[in-house]
Every structure is written in C-alpha cells, then in structure tokens.
C-alpha cells in the first residue's frame, strides 16, 4: 500500500507527523506493508493533513485527517468519511495551471529519480548546450518578472550580471519570505527543492557564476532541513559541483533582511541594514562582487521556461504580467492555500470564487494584497485583475502574491496602526523617515483612536514623508496599508471619533 503524507509545514502544524506514525503503526498491526512517502503539500490547506492512497495508479485523497480517521484507510476507501476522491480531479487542482508548482505535492521531494521522472533537469540539460547570451535571451523573452515583490524583469537583471566583469560572481536566492500571507517559497522548497537548485544552476550558467547561496528565514525549519538534504543529494549526484555549487544560509529573524541589499549585508555577517543604491547588487553585490539576487519563485520558474521554451511560458498571463503566479490565499478564508494560475483573474474571483469567502461565514470586509507593505482592497475593487500594472493603477501592489482576507469584524484603524508598529519594530534604523516616522505613525493613529481628528492631516503628511524619503520599501511602502485603510474605510477612523465624543 502506497500512502502519501505531506511533510509540508502547514500539514505538520496540523498533525501530519502523528498521522504518518499512526498509519505505519496501523499497517504493522494489520500485517499490511505500507510505504509512506512524505510529499509536499497540494496547497489545499483546509484539507490538511491531506493523506493520499494510491490505488491502481490513481491517488485518492482523504482530509482533513485525524487520528480517528486512520483505521478507515485500511478498509473500504470509497466510504471513508474524509474521502475527497481522486486528488487530480478536485476542482481546486483542475482549475490551476501548475508550471512552477507542477511537481509540488506530487513527487517525493528528496528523490532525484522522481524529480527526473517528472521532467526535472530537462531545462538544465538544455541550458548546458546554450551560450550565456542565449540563456539570458530565453529568460528575457519569457517575460518573467521578479516574484519577490518589485517585479523587475529577471532576464534584464541576469544580463547585467552576465556581462559584468569579475572572476567570482554569485547567485543569491532570497528565501526570506517574511510577508504575512505568503508561503509559496516555503512550499516550493519543502515540496520540490531540486527545482530551485536547478533554477539556480541555470542562473549560474547564464551569468558565469559558480557559487550560490539560499538565504532562508529561521522561521522555516522544515524548508531549511529539506533544502540542506537536497543540496547534499544534488552534490553527490553531480548536479552540483565544480561548475556550480551552493550553500544554505539561515536568517535570524529580521524582516528587513528580505530587502536585497540588507540580505547581502546579512549574508556577509553584518547587521542587516539597507545599502544605498547605486551600486546595484548586480554589479557590486555579495562581497562587492557581481550578484544576482532573485526570489525563490523567480528562480524556480526558470527550469520550466528552459524546458518548454519562452513562448510557452509567455503565452499565459495578462498585459505585461506574463506566465503564472502562485496565489497564496490566507487569513479568514474558507478555502485557503496555494493556487497557481495565469495572471488575470479578478480579485473577486480569487477571494470569493476560489477562496469561497470567509472562514467565519461573515461578509468579506477587506483583502490585503502583497503582504504587510500592500494595500487593503474593499469589495468595491474586486473587479481588479491580478497583474502588476493593474494593481498599481488602484494604488496597490501584488508583491509576493499573498492575500489576507478579513471579515467585517476587522477594525481597519487597528490594522493601520499595526502596519506602523510593524515598520517600527522591523526598521533597520538607517533612514529617519522609516525609523522615526513609523513610531510617530503609531502615536498619531493612537490620537485618532482617542477621537482627536486633528491628527488626520498629520498622518497623511507623515505617510508622504515616509513614501518619498525612505531608503527602501519598508518605510516607503508602509503608507500603502495605512492610506488604503484610511481611504477605503473612513468610518473605522471616524467611528472612533464619535465614540470618544
């Protein structure tokens, strides 16, 4: 009997390890030989732990599993109370276009054979037969833009590094994923680590870089363990070696270290303060040498682009947002998880159609898109199509494509206050608008909460100073959640006034 139990953090946080043990014990007690594969997650977090049993080559899903549901896996499967049928046929799976996440949840993450059998290493093999310029051109042509938040064209960044002079260049993968509502990087590293390794190896070929680093946040113990094991396995198999090798590095709990220059300082062993640009990291990055800094998903999208060609990838999407985006639907939502799809769905289709509205069953009041530096959207803007420019036009951003759904009990003044507080806690301290501005922001919102309406113009002023005076997007974008809350939910700020009067 072949059974799949995810090793993914979300599945584990909901009891997957205990379920896996119970399945083994139950099998032993019944004299049934059970092969348990610890796969990645399919992304249907509301069904986790989602156990799959393979019957005649078809994987049948059962979830959310409890210990009491385990014995039932050994009798009539069709009548199991947690049966959801063949996983691939589930509407959540069928609606997706899984390019980057094609193997996540499907394969054994640490089996290189499984990886190969599911199309792995085809991109790297093709890249080995190409010149540097050809690889860069292919990535540029695909239209791939950085998935870490800024949306900068990946091919153009690679071109700069590829053409830069230097005996040692680096590929640095940004796996700091600090934004609330995001977990795509984590799921990819836990569910298909070789895909990231392959993407980095291709980047190394394209740029003439022989060394890579993956900087993973310390809050991700499972991803760290899986990536470290995968690097060892890839090295033993000769996928990594003299031509390109890499190391896993662990962050130390600083949100700002997701900002690329701060990340480079941290990697060098310094305080994670932001560097002024120029010089660009592409020219003077890690240890002052030419360096590509790319997000996990940007790099993990490269193998499929090389394997299937730029045109194939580019064919998906909307406007200048090409390819697919792994949406991370989170917060107070009925069906939360990861859903990879071409750009272009509207926010309403995502939140209500895919997510099924709130988990609480109450009306959706607001959705924050793009993490703690992203704007809050009211249902009135649910017709906004998911794309970089489209969200920009509505004073928002897609960031790393995380969505936090909130029901009508959320107090937007408190969310605005939290945005300022978070910025104050996480500011690297280098520039004043961010360091001091955020603290003043908290105080000013507290004045509003006490009913002091004269604080309102001070708050908008402060936001402007932060927007235009900050060195990086931490201080520069914190005004997005604050001002969007104020613009779209003025009652939450006014109500407080009335209450005080």
């Amino acid at each position: 009997m072949k059974v799949f139990v995810p090793l993914d953090s979300a599945a584990v946080a909901l009891g997957a390890d205990r379920i896996a043990e119970a399945i083994v014990a139950q099998g032993a007690a019944r004299g049934v030989t059970v092969q348990v594969v610890r796969n990645g997650s399919r992304g249907m977090v509301w069904l986790e732990p989602l156990v799959e049993v393979e019957v005649d080559g078809v994987r049948h899903g059962f979830g959310p599993m409890t210990l009491a549901d385990v014995p039932g896996l050994f009798s009539d499967l069709a009548s199991h109370p947690k049966a959801i049928g063949p996983v691939e046929a589930h509407p959540w799976m069928k609606g997706q276009t899984r390019l980057t996440f094609a193997r996540v949840g499907v394969i054994d993450p640490l089996s290189l054979d499984d990886y190969r059998a599911h199309g792995g290493l085809v991109g790297l093999d093709r890249a080995r037969g190409m010149t540097r310029a050809e690889i860069v051109a292919e990535v540029t042509e695909s239209g791939l833009r950085g998935r870490g938040g800024a949306g900068f064209p990946t091919g153009i960044k690679w071109k700069t590094v590829s053409e830069a002079a230097g005996d040692q260049k680096y590929i640095v993968c940004n796996a700091d994923e600090g934004d609330s509502a995001t977990f795509a990087d984590r799921m990819l590293m836990e569910g298909d680590p070789f895909c990231l390794i392959e993407g980095m190896a291709i980047a190394g070929l394209a740029c003439g870089a022989t060394k890579g680093y993956v900087y993973i946040r310390s809050e991700y113990p499972v991803a760290i363990r899986v990536m470290e094991a995968a690097v060892r396995i890839a090295r033993e198999a000769g996928v990594l070696g003299a031509a390109f090798d890499m190391e896993i590095r662990v962050g130390a709990g600083a949100y700002v270290c997701g900002e690329e220059t701060s990340l480079l300082n941290s990697l060098e062993g310094k305080r994670g303060v932001v560097r002024a640009k120029p010089p660009l990291p592409a020219l003077q990055g890690f240890l002052g040498r030419p360096t590509v800094v790319n997000n996990v998903i940007s790099l993990a999208s490269v193998p499929v682009i090389l394997a299937k060609g730029a045109a194939f990838y580019k064919d998906f999407g909307l406007g200048r947002s090409r390819g697919t985006i792994p949406l991370q639907i989170a917060g107070n939502v009925k069906y939360g998880g990861l859903y990879e799809v071409a750009f272009g769905l509207t926010l309403g289709e995502i939140v209500n159609g895919i997510g099924g509205g709130t988990a609480s069953g109450r009306p959706v009041k607001a959705v924050q898109v793009g993490g703690p530096l992203g704007a809050w959207f009211p249902p009135a803007l649910f017709d906004t199509p998911f794309g970089y420019e489209e969200f920009g036009a509505k004073d928002g951003l897609i960031g790393h494509a995380g969505l936090t759904v909130a029901d009508d009990t959320v107090d937007m003044l408190q969310m605005a206050r939290f945005a300022m507080e978070f910025c104050a806690i996480e500011s690297c301290g280098k520039c004043t608008p961010c360091r001091i501005g955020s603290t003043r922001g908290v105080e000013t919102i507290d004045r509003l909460a006490r009913g002091d309406a004269s604080a309102l113009p001070i708050l908008t002023d402060l936001c402007n100073t932060m927007k235009f005076g900050s060195l990086c997007a931490l201080g520069g974008f914190t005004p997005y959640p604050v001002l969007s809350a104020l613009t779209h939910f003025p009652d939450d700020f006014a109500r407080q006034r009335e209450a005080a009067e």
Binding site: S180, P221, A254, I425
Partner: protein, 152 residues
C-alpha cells in the same frame, strides 16, 4: 551550567568548524546559540578576535537580530504569530488569553523559568492561523490549550 573554560573551548570548536566560509558570522552565532541557548557575553570577544572584527561590530550584529538572545530563555519557548493573516483569525485574542494564563507579556519568562513568550511575524502558516511555534515545533489553529504543552 558550563564554566567559562568549557564555554571558550566549545566556542573555539565552533569557530574551527566554520573556517573557510564566506561571511561566517551568522552561522557561527547560530551555532553558539544552539550550543548554549544564548550568546554568552564572553563569546563576543572570542568571536571578534577570530574573525578580526571589533567587539563592537560583533555585539552590533548580535543585538540587531531578533533571534539572538543575550541571556538564557525559559525551559520552553512559545512563539505566537502576530502578523496580519493570523490577526484576522483572532490571534490577538488568543495571545491575550495565553498571556493571562501564563501571567507574562511578550519577551517575558515566567518566574519559575518555565516558559518564555515571544512574538513572531509569520511562520508561513497563514492559511491555518493563528500559528505558533512551541520549542521549534509548528502548530496551526492554535488556542490557549497550547499552554498544556509548556506546563512542565
């Protein structure tokens, strides 16, 4: 508790094991904290000397990052996510109840040295919040019953 000679021997081993790394300071600090549960004051000059940095530089790095402790934590460390997605699932109220049950606030340790409570900003469990980490173990949809796990 180890005496200072044991400390410096162990730190010397860690420094030795990290030779040849580019930018070795964070891996070294993680290893020191793993070994002792915190970064002992005496480690700072020893690390500084080995890496040819000033004590102030090393101290500056230790103090910059939320992960590094300058004194030992309680026997258990309970981290609760305070970030937006978990807030929408009632993380603040859960945290308040846990604080009351333990009788401590953020960054505090119970007087019997049993548990330290810390905020964390996202554990990547945002579709099954509120999220927590108990002694390194991940917990989704957490509530105050988690206190039982740090009871001893």
């Amino acid at each position: 508790m180890l005496d200072s000679q044991d400390h410096s021997d162990r730190i010397a081993e860690i420094l030795e094991a990290h030779q040849g790394l580019e930018g070795p300071l964070l891996p070294i600090l993680h290893a020191v904290q793993e070994a002792f549960g915190y970064i002992p004051e005496a480690a700072v000059p020893q690390i500084a000397k080995a890496l040819m940095l000033s004590k102030a530089e090393v101290h500056g790095v230790v103090s910059f990052y939320h992960d590094f402790r300058s004194k030992p934590a309680g026997r258990h460390v309970l981290k609760l996510c305070r970030a937006e997605a978990c807030q929408t699932m009632g993380a603040d109220a859960v945290a308040d109840r846990i604080k009351r049950a333990l009788g401590i606030g953020w960054h505090e340790t119970t007087s019997d040295g049993r548990v330290t409570l810390e905020p964390v900003f996202c554990l990547g469990l945002c579709a099954c919040g509120p999220a927590a980490m108990v002694d390194g173990r991940l917990v989704g949809r957490v509530d105050e019953s988690v206190c039982a796990e740090v009871a001893k």
